[in-house]
């Protein structure tokens, strides 16, 4: 019961944040609501017993990725979103389509809701076990992603630095 209340509480924050992200016109507000979504998702993970995932969610998602977003918004001084007409097709067909799809999925889930309830903390997301899995069974994907992120870092540096700075090489101090 207690857990259900907690679930509902954080679930409500999640949904509210997600909706707020859509409604707000200023990107910084959207970013903040996304942070709220992520933080409450971390709480949901805790409820599911995935402690480590929850911590990483906060550190990586809320603490690093979203900081990048916020810095970008600050750096570009992004103002209020201007409402251009844009591609009508996306809105006219996409939005109802998505809504219908969402309703369908929900209906299916509710209709075939014979899945068991998830026992809280039944599966401890213990760092020890996760490490064993990550460094034994999933070693290759792990290494591949590490290469991926290295490439991403290099790509980001090249993309974001100015063209002439790249051509010139690192800035030399006087002499």
């Amino acid at each position: 019961m207690f857990h259900l209340i907690l679930f509902l509480f954080f679930g409500a924050i999640c949904v509210a944040g997600a909706v707020n992200l859509l409604v707000q016109s200023h990107p910084i507000n959207s970013a903040l609501s996304l942070i709220a979504v992520m933080a409450s998702l971390a709480a949901e993970y805790l409820l599911l017993g995935a402690e480590f995932v929850a911590a990483v969610q906060v550190i990586v998602y809320a603490g690093a990725i979203m900081v990048l977003f916020v810095i970008t918004i600050m750096l570009l001084n992004a103002g209020k979103e201007e409402r251009t007409k844009g591609s009508r097709v996306a809105i006219l067909i996409g939005v109802p389509g998505v809504l219908i799809g969402g309703v369908l999925v929900a209906w299916t889930l509710l209709y075939r809701s014979n899945t068991q309830a998830v026992p809280i903390g039944a599966l401890k997301g213990d760092p020890h076990d996760i490490a064993r899995l990550l460094f034994h069974d999933f070693l290759l994907p792990f290494e591949v992603t590490s290469v991926l992120i290295l490439i991403a870092i290099m790509g980001a540096v090249v993309l974001a630095s100015r063209p002439e700075a790249v051509a010139r090489g690192p800035r030399k101090d006087a002499e």
Partner: protein
């Protein structure tokens, strides 16, 4: 233990820890003023109470009664939210810090800790990493160029140094094999303090922690000689006080963490009657934390500050490789021993 007792004890513990933390914050401000004064041939606060001991109260009253300015050009919701965010995250991170061992109070016994998570260290890191938002948003929402530069600097600095801070702790984790702060302390019994096993990691941690808490020589986000007051240029009264408290609360947290991870936490000689045995560990813990606070203040009033690019270069080109090397060496030794 029934759920009611649990809730009651938890609430009592939370309130007690919050009270202790806020007092510690207030008195670290007093300590800073006093120590800096003595470093600089001054007296520091002397008027309010004996040795100026009531100065924090006077400061608090002053902050409350100051006019709370909200400039017309600020982005109001975030301008108000930013100091709250900074303070809340700064205070929350103390929740998993253990102050001492098991204590028995009458029929009940408890750990001197609000909650013991087996990923306690990660929680502290996670929560402190959220503290960036307070600073960044304050800088952005003030709609002031100095604030913006301060906010950008702060967020870049904190994100960068978080990397080396996190990596410096990995060595300790490899040795201990646990993320729980209590386990880490327990592993340091018999003077096997991590400072002896992981000296490099300790210094990386110390330096990164200075940068994380924006203290001299890394206080660039609020470098008053360049950016007036950085991200809190436009803040006044209680909103400013919140940033101020957040800074000192972060200092306390970081000092606690240093004590727990490298200096054996509450471990120390314990003797005497039971009541003394209960108090002594807390005393050792407090003394060690006090030492780190003093170190903070000492460094601040001795060193000049870095330049921004030098700071970033130092973080990425010196601390990060050092931390990685430390991890590799530690891992190799541990593997060789095993």
């Amino acid at each position: 233990m029934s759920i009611t007792t649990f809730v009651i004890i938890s609430i009592i513990k939370s309130v007690a820890v919050l009270g202790v933390l806020l007092t510690a914050v207030a008195y670290s401000v007093w300590l800073e003023r006093k120590v800096s004064a003595h470093i600089q041939n001054r007296w520091g606060p002397t008027r309010v109470g004996p040795f100026g001991l009531l100065q924090p109260v006077a400061d608090g009253v002053k902050f409350i009664f100051k006019e709370d300015l909200t400039q017309p050009h600020v982005y109001k919701p975030i301008f108000i939210a930013a100091p709250i965010i900074a303070l809340v995250f700064a205070i929350t991170s103390i929740s998993v810090i253990p102050f001492g061992n098991w204590v028995d109070i009458g029929p009940w016994g408890t750990y001197l800790q609000i909650t013991d998570l087996n990923i306690g260290l990660l929680v502290v890191l996670g929560i402190t990493s959220m503290g960036v938002y307070g600073v960044a948003l304050a800088g952005w929402s003030s709609n002031n160029k100095y604030s913006l530069l301060g906010g950008l600097r702060a967020s870049a600095q904190m994100v960068s140094y978080e990397v080396s801070l996190g990596l410096s702790l990995v060595g300790v984790l490899i040795i201990t094999g646990s993320l729980s702060l209590r386990d880490i302390v327990d592993a340091q019994r018999h003077l096997h303090w991590n400072i002896f096993l992981q000296p490099v990691a300790f210094f990386i941690y110390l330096i990164s922690a200075y940068a994380e808490t924006n203290r001299t020589p890394f206080d660039l986000p609020e470098a008053e000689s360049e950016l007036v007051a950085g991200y809190h240029t436009e803040y006044s009264a209680m909103k400013f006080a919140m940033f101020f408290m957040a800074e000192y609360a972060n200092m306390v947290t970081v000092a606690c963490l240093a004590t727990l991870l490298f200096f054996g936490g509450w471990l120390g000689p314990v003797f005497g009657p039971p009541i003394l045995q209960m108090i002594l560990p807390v005393l050792w813990f407090c003394l060690k934390v006090f030492f780190f606070m003093f170190l903070y203040i000492w460094v601040r009033w001795t060193l000049p500050r870095f330049r921004y690019d030098q700071l970033m270069a130092f973080g990425w080109k010196v601390l990060l490789p050092l931390a990685v090397a430390n991890i590799v060496v530690t891992a190799l030794i541990v593997a060789w021993r095993a």
